[in-house]
Every structure is written in structure tokens, then in C-alpha cells.
Symmetry: C2
Subunit: 245 residues, 2 copies
DNA sequence: CGCATGGTTGAGGCTCATCAACGCCCGTGG
DNA sequence: CCACGGGCGTTGATGAGCCTCAACCATGCG
């Protein structure tokens, strides 16, 4: 199958991981027109302030949602993997209040708003799934907000790793207690609200305590129980159907 | 008019502040059945883990969305005023991943999910407005996340005050450069991810620099320009129709 | 009057940021 | 083939921002 189909597969798998998907809905989704582009790390998918007329579906690689402040400060608001449509909201709101960018080399399929709107008008079940996805995104913001506001760096990072592992597991991107984590420590620090130096030290701490290992873009969860306990991790907010590991 | 109508008025005014509302939609909304209760500060409207069958519309007073962690840590995720339906999401997702509680003495009108669903199925324009409200809530999470992650306490608090003023202004609850702020410093600290002691000191700083005053539950914006500048405040995320002050 | 709640102040210390340097890996070009 | 450079990770030193603890004050209420 052509590479763009692989991305659609991921989207379908993701929707399947959070709800039901009928055969017709699958088929209807597969007819969506899209133009694929490959982006380099750091390149914008959508810029803050834009009024996009299309959505970007991540086919592979990672992307992020972010805001920038003065003095080079950046906060990453969410991380996105294959199957995600990070700018789905742009379908319903005019102006982007944040940017979306590739974190790794990433293939993105752009789908015209028009086509997507039409599909969702036709398939109400599919529309409900997309709304559900937006609600899960909101729940994830809440989880991150709680972490950045009230969890020390160590627990916060543990929590993020639990989340990223489960999300990837849900769409079949994770292995046995391991999953890709192809982003830099600097990106991690902007996601966690920390400095890159401190991220480095906390990582060493997590490794040193035997909870994880992280090398070559692969995260290995060495001890899920202890990691989840350290993070006080409760997966409810991800609203996944399957049971966690 | 009876007190419960006042709350509905606030809801309609709020929906009106973020979109269009037809006469029929107004009327249809006014027929919603609801049971009003008055809550004391700290009392839960919905508990984490609950599977509610009704939504709560705030008629007066303030409420908050929150998560609790071990050791008494609490993060307030959003603040809610008259006209808000903080647990609107419960219409679409089964389990609450957080709690909602009154911060002041507050009147809350409970609306059965069934009635609300039926209304929204009937009035698609109204449904769109409610979804829009959910998207704005998500945008507000992002703004808070950015603040807690990357803004020092002083700017973060300035930003929150800008937001709270504009939100109340949009529904007619604010006066000339002043608005209610009827919550304790401890609540503020849990919203900002700070300690109550530090909130107290930053407040004195903001007062000392002449940007605001805050006494008796009333926030006065003494210098909007400087406050907004200190906060790097950009109101886009609130998606309000009217122009700010 | 006494008590509870919330606001205020001071002292001391911990978490985390900043700055600066260095090492590693890898791709690139002379 | 090796020198160079850039991105990324790592380390140490220093200090700022914020937390914790503890006490005290102001207000309102029974």
C-alpha cells in the first residue's frame, strides 16, 4: 500500500482505540483527499495566528503544539504521534492561538477542511469520535497542567512517560514495555516546563533508580509499577478502551 | 423574575458573547428543567470518578475544576462564574477525571443530561455554541499551562487577572476596570501552582507597582496597559466577540 | 469574649534555573 | 582520510525563585 495509506491506518486505529468504528465509516474515511509533505524538525505545520483551511494528519514522526513567549521561552502543550490530527480544532475555530510544528522529520497529510466537514456531516458517528478525541486532548491538558503546577520534576517526567507509553501502545506503536521517544531533551524540557539541564539530571535519576532507560530514541519502561506509582499515574483521562499493561 | 431565571440569563449572555443566538434557541433554552441548590464553599458539585447524569449551571458565586494529589496537593484547572456549565463535558464522557466544587457560596442549577441532549439534538446551532464553549475551555487550559510552565509568578498572576476581568466583562459582570474576585489567596495559589505565601507576596508586589488593587473580593485593574504588558496577555484564546477594554 | 478563617511577615532551605564549559556523535567538505 | 562544525547530551558552580514552617494579626461570627 502507498505510504499515505499507512497514515490513514494509524488514524483509524486511533479512532478505534477510543470508540467504535463501523465498516462504512472506515471506508468513507479512506476516501478523504490529502496531500502529503515531509517536514524537517522544527518546521511549522500551522503557525500561531493563522486561519488554516486544512488539517494536518501526522503519518509518521512526532509533532507538537506550542506557544512561544518573549526571551525565547517556549511551552509545548501536547505531543502528537502518527494518527493524530493536532490541528483538528482549526475546523471549528477561526484563529490559531498557538503553533504546531514537527519535532522530528515527519510526514504530514493535509486534508481540506471542506472535505473533512463534509465527511463528518455525513457520518455522525465519526463526528462523535472526533469530538471525543478533542475531549481527550482537553483531558490531557488538564493532566499536564496538574503536573506542571503541582508535581516535582521527577514525578512529572515519570507521568509523561507513562502517558506516552500508553498512548503509543493503544495504537500499536509500542513494544513490550518499550516505545519510541524520538525527541530531544530540549523538547522534553519545554513540554515539562523545566530547563534542559534539569531534564538531563532527572533523566539520570530515573535511569539510576532503574525505572526506565532511554537511548537512541527508544524509551524502555523497566518497572511499570514503580514508575506509575512515582507518577501517581491514573490513566482514566486517556479514555482508552483496552486495559493498560 | 425568579432567581433561577437570572442564571439562565447569564448562560444566554455567555453564549451570546461567543456566538450568535436565535430567538427560538433562547426560548428553547429557557424551557430546560432544572433543580437549584445552594452550595457552601468547598462543597463538591461533581466528584472525581463520578458518572453524573446531570450538568450543573452556575447561577451565582464561583466554582472551580480541580485535581487532587497526595499530600494535600491540589491543582485548580479552571475557574467558573455565573453562566458557566463547568461539567458540560460529562454529557459526552463517562467518568469524571477531576472534581468540580464551589469556591464561594454558590447557587447551582442541575439540568438532566437527557433534557440537555434533547435540546442540543433539536437545536444544532445551540449545540455548535456549546462545542465552541468546550473549545474555549481547552484554549484556556493551554493558556494556563503556558503560564504555569513558563511564566514567573508575577506575570502568571497578572495574566490570570487579565483573563478573569475580560471573561466577566464579556457577560456583564465587570464594572469600569473592576470585577469580582471572591476567592481566597489559597484558592488563587492552587490555580496558579504557587504557595499561598508566595501568592500573598506577589499580590503585594502587583499592588505596590500600582497595577491592581484587591480588597473585599473586588479586583480593580488600576493600569490595564501595564498589567497586560507584564502578562504578555493576548486575548485571542478567549474567542470573545466584543473588543477588550 | 473566644474561636475560626484568611491574610501577613520573617527565616531558612530546597528545587530548579542559568551560565559556561566540555565531550560525543555524525555529517560534511577539504 | 581527517579536520571541522553543529547539534545534542553532560557536568559543575552559583544563585534566584519559590516553598515550608511558624508565628502573628485582622476580621467576622457564635
Amino acid at each position: 500500500m502507498p505510504p499515505s495509506d499507512h497514515g490513514l491506518t494509524m488514524l483509524l486505529r486511533k479512532l478505534d482505540s477510543i470508540g467504535q468504528l463501523s465498516a462504512e465509516e472506515r471506508q468513507a474515511t479512506e476516501t478523504l483527499p490529502m496531500k502529503t509533505r515531509v517536514l524537517d524538525p522544527g518546521q511549522d505545520i500551522v503557525q500561531e495566528g493563522a486561519r488554516p483551511s486544512r488539517c494536518g494528519l501526522v503519518l509518521n514522526g512526532w509533532a507538537c503544539r506550542y506557544k512561544v513567549l518573549s526571551m525565547g521561552r517556549r511551552q509545548i502543550l501536547s505531543l502528537h504521534i502518527a494518527g493524530d490530527i493536532p490541528d483538528l480544532e482549526s475546523l471549528y475555530s477561526e484563529v490559531m492561538d498557538h503553533g504546531i510544528a514537527a519535532l522530528t522529520r515527519a510526514a504530514v497529510a493535509f486534508i481540506p477542511h471542506e472535505s473533512l466537514s463534509e465527511l463528518l456531516a455525513r457520518c455522525s458517528g465519526l463526528a462523535a469520535l472526533f469530538w471525543r478525541d478533542l475531549l481527550i486532548a482537553a483531558a490531557t491538558y488538564r493532566a499536564w497542567l496538574t503536573g506542571v503546577g503541582r508535581r516535582p520534576a521527577y514525578e512529572r517526567m515519570a507521568h509523561l512517560f507513562c502517558e506516552l507509553y500508553l498512548r503509543q501502545q493503544a495504537v500499536g506503536l509500542a513494544g513490550e514495555h518499550r516505545c519510541p521517544l524520538p525527541i530531544t531533551q530540549l523538547d522534553l524540557s519545554d513540554a515539562l516546563g523545566l530547563s534542559n539541564v534539569h531534564v538531563n539530571r532527572v533523566l539520570q535519576d530515573l535511569r539510576g533508580k532503574g525505572l526506565i532507560s532511554l537511548r537512541g530514541g527508544t524509551l524502555v519502561i523497566e518497572e511499570w509499577q514503580r514508575l506509575a506509582a512515582a507518577a501517581e499515574f491514573n490513566p482514566t483521562y486517556l479514555h482508552l478502551k483496552g486495559r493498560p499493561a
